[in-house]
């Protein structure tokens, strides 16, 4: 029997079990699983960590491969650096598939003179795109580059066992965005302290929210939490 093990992330072990049960179509009581990380609610908004469980799926539901999507939906949010836990080098096959797949996407998007470079960057697999029309590839608030990145991760990890997150970048966009997000976080924190009330940041993706949490965790005068769902998920900065 081909037994597959799938990792689920959620706020608590309990929620992760619910999710696994729903996704695999196996009643909760019948799940055989191992707790990889019980998670942590954190303290004053720091060190929040998702619970992670590893579930055996011997049924091998036809949809089980789509699990990657689930893992991505939940990871990288309010988790700590430990979240990715990449062990060692990414395999050459994964780098090759990533390179081929991303090249096929950018070529077919009709972007002119694109170059794709894919390499193991330690925590992540970096997939850098150089092209003349970088604005078009990145899109409004990065929505296009984020969509490409998401599809690429799903496509690559359908064929290979999960190793580490593939991050698509273009002309240093990710770093610029992080800096912009930190600047917003800094100003919002200051205003929140001054006005003595919680302030909401604009909706952001998981990586950006994480950047905000990390940036403000050293500020003893505020705490941060995320609220809202999906596209509307955003960080709230609260004065202490």
């Amino acid at each position: 029997m081909n037994t597959e093990k799938i990792e689920f992330h959620a706020g608590t072990v309990d929620e992760a079990l619910d999710k696994a049960s729903a996704r695999l179509g196996i009643p909760r009581e019948q799940l055989s699983y191992e707790v990889l990380d019980p998670g942590s609610a954190g303290f004053l908004g720091l060190g929040t960590r998702d619970a992670r469980i590893l579930v055996e799926n011997d049924a091998r539901t036809p949809d089980s491969r789509a699990i990657v999507e689930e893992v991505f939906a939940e990871s990288g949010g309010e988790t700590t650096e430990e979240e990715a836990r990449p062990s060692g080098e990414a395999s050459p096959e994964i780098l090759k598939t990533t390179r081929e797949q991303l090249t096929r996407i950018v070529e077919n998007m009709g972007l002119t003179s694109c170059e794709v470079e894919v390499y193991d960057a330690g925590e992540i697999i970096a997939a850098d795109v150089r092209c003349e029309e970088s604005g078009l590839f990145i899109g409004h608030k990065g929505e296009t580059i984020d969509a490409v990145q998401y599809l690429l991760n799903v496509a690559v990890y359908r064929r290979h066992e999960y190793e580490k997150k593939i991050v698509v970048d273009c002309e240093g966009y990710r770093q610029r965005r992080i800096e912009a997000v930190q600047s917003i976080a800094h100003r919002t924190a200051r205003r929140s302290i001054k006005e003595r009330r919680p302030l909401k940041l604009p909706p952001m993706n998981a990586a950006e929210r994480r950047a905000v949490h990390l940036y403000l965790k050293d500020n003893p005068k505020v705490t941060t939490v995320s609220e809202g769902r999906d596209e509307n998920r955003r960080v709230v900065v609260k004065p202490l």
Binding site: Y150, L151, V154
Partner: protein, 79 residues
Amino acid sequence: MPQLKRLLEVLAQSLVDDPDGVKVTATELESTVVLELRVAPDDIGKVIGKQGRIARAIRTVVKASAVRYGKKVIVEIVD
């Protein structure tokens, strides 16, 4: 708009178990292109995703590309 049709095929094929089951038909009305995506019945979930997340990402990428050609595009997933 063969380029947009091809892009949608490429994206869908990368996500499904049965790439040969991916069929895209394109209808063009003035500057709007309507793309209808069909996949093998078992693969439908793989192009839609949980809460439509994959479908949304596909639409975002195809739309971005359409801008390049000065077109509007509608992607419909037919089941």
